[in-house]
Symmetry: C2
Subunit: 355 residues, 2 copies
DNA sequence: CTGAAAGCGCTTACAG
DNA sequence: CTGAAAGCGCTTACAG
């Protein structure tokens, strides 16, 4: 009698038949081995191995009514801040045996909604959303279906759900304060994308710092965007001014913008960074360290955000029904001083030595 | 009579009851609307809207036997090359209505296997895998279950599946050739992580270029890794040499390594880049442009790889059973000249003007 | 054009 | 400790 050829995708009933037990027993071996006699379990496990059985998670999810998966929708994986959030969320999920699936919206709100719907339809255990702009309709839709959702790095007005935020007002404040304490008095705030919530908050923080410092002035410059080239072109505009008319301290609302400015100043002007102009970025992206000058910046820990979000989600998942109260975790930023503002950095020391 | 409160997750049978039809009709309205009378369809759609029905994709997958989802496992999202692959795969999937889910292995082979299993258990339509190291067991396990898989950027020995590769030997060759053609004769190859397949191939290409160029010498330096700090510390080592004993052209096997080297040379030596030492990177990562000097590099288009992989997968998905032949697509790299090798870059011009 | 019914592959009380 | 059976929410021939 020929040995039956192995099915490509053997099911539990194939295993059951092969081991001479019922499918309930196979299920028990997998999910509650303590309920099964050792010898039986052994036999079943052998069959599983022989047939190459892989539990069909789709059927399992349908039967149990929920998956062990959490879906994370990220606005822009090209920004390392979002990659960091994914790292954090993964760490936060691992502990609870949840599995993290990622969807990259790639700055496209329609695609973001698609992913939200995808995870909704997949009946994931919960959703983590790190949006860039208002996502109210998507969030409400998914919540209406009873899906759990935690929003990262965005304060969605009028929507009641758990949220992880960074105090972005404080980000701006710390950046400007750092410049002022270093003796800078003609500050500039470089920004773009006004509709982007963190930009507004950071601007408010910069203003507060300036207002509380007598004699310090603030110039607000629209860079037209948050990328490296935007910084470059601002430098080009500034190059028309005399040195004394340039700001002596700049807060760039994003690291890449700051890097572009520094590179542009080097190319187009005689102003030196940091001697003539100190520059602070925001976010502490991966690019903050590898740029033309190591960039002083205000750190937003994406990893911490991701972890906190996962924790909030798990909290909500495990809460007794009706007991859960949504809450908002606000993380505090911190300034990281590098070469682009003050201090005899190693760069300067070595240059001086060489001269 | 009180209106029944809306169920959180109404099912098709709820919709059917509400619309006064059978669930088969509801299903048809959703999947083959042309088979349903316009009036009936309208009524069903109204019920769907009223109840807030969302198709349960888990049940659908179980019933149809396969999902419309493809799972992509990335070795390291911190490396922008992998993010680019995700972009490409997304573009490639969109056209066919497939939905791309991402799993980040974060350089952890165990986690990579977990994601492979996760997608396997989820019965995704296909898997895209961009590994860093040998992943034979994972690939074979998933293939044994009949799951389709395409491997990116890694030539997995002895495993028969569709693959997208970049000609990494050519990457090394182009980089070295560029230096040689610019008149450099004391080349160095900077690498680390010898077990990493592309590193080996690029080394071979560099050697070939050098061997075919009389009078050109090659020094192979182990940087101990592929990151920025590794480049820095190589520069520190080199700083002990006299200028004339330094290489005059360096191929760094990865962009970040090249950036680190350039920064280190600036900090620790008097050698100028590119005047005294030309440096070429490999990969054209996002960091290649924002670094201390805009880096000449050899481009590997991650986006193209991702697209090609998605296309191969779709080809295999749609092939008649038994007809499909696995194939390997090899993409060709191209050199991108920036400031770190030769040529009067804008940087130099402007500096000269300022002097 | 519409509906009754079987089936996808699991899980889970419930008996025994 | 083990098994028969119902059920999760869809899809899909097959009748009508």
């Amino acid at each position: 009698m020929p040995v039956p050829r192995a099915k490509i995708n053997p099911s539990m009933s194939d295993v059951a038949r092969h081991a001479g037990v019922s499918i309930a027993t196979v299920s028990n071996v997998i999910n509650r081995p303590e309920k099964v006699a050792a010898a039986t379990a052994e036999r079943v496990r052998a069959s599983i191995g022989e047939l190459g059985f892989v539990r069909n998670d789709v059927a399992r999810s349908l039967a149990t009514g929920s998956a062990s998966t959490v879906g994370m929708v990220l606005a822009d994986l090209d920004n390392s801040l979002f990659v960091d959030m994914a790292h954090g969320a993964q760490q936060g999920s691992d502990a609870s045996g949840l599995r993290l699936l990622l969807g990259n919206a790639a700055c496209d709100l329609r695609r973001q909604d698609d992913y939200l719907d995808l995870f909704d339809e997949a009946r994931v255990r919960g959703v983590l959303l790190a949006p860039m702009e208002d996502s109210r309709s998507g969030i409400e839709r998914i919540r209406a279906h009873g899906r759990l959702i935690v929003v990262l790095n965005f304060q969605q007005p009028d929507v009641d759900c758990c949220t992880v935020l960074v105090d972005n007002e404080q980000v701006g404040y710390l950046a400007a304060r750092h410049l002022i304490e270093g003796g800078r008095s003609r500050l500039a705030f470089l920004a773009g994308r006004e509709y982007y919530q963190p930009v507004q908050a950071r601007r408010a923080g910069v203003r507060r710092a300036v207002q509380s410092a007598p004699g310090v002035t603030l110039e607000e410059i629209d860079a037209g965007g948050l990328e490296f080239p935007n910084g470059l072109s601002v430098a080009r505009d500034l190059s028309a001014r005399r040195l004394g008319d340039l700001p002596d301290g700049v807060v760039a609302v994003a690291d890449e913008l700051g890097n572009g400015l520094i590179e542009g100043l080097r190319l187009e002007t005689e102003a030196r960074v940091p001697q003539d102009i100190s520059v602070v970025g925001c976010e502490d992206n991966r690019t903050a360290q590898g740029g033309p000058v190591a960039l002083t910046t205000v750190q937003l820990s994406g990893v911490e955000m991701g972890q906190a979000a996962a924790e909030l989600l798990i909290e909500e998942m495990t809460a007794d029904p009706g007991v859960h109260r949504h809450r908002t975790v606000v993380l505090h930023p911190s300034l990281i001083a590098r070469d682009s503002t003050f201090g005899a950095s190693s760069t300067e020391l070595l240059r001086a030595k060489g001269a």
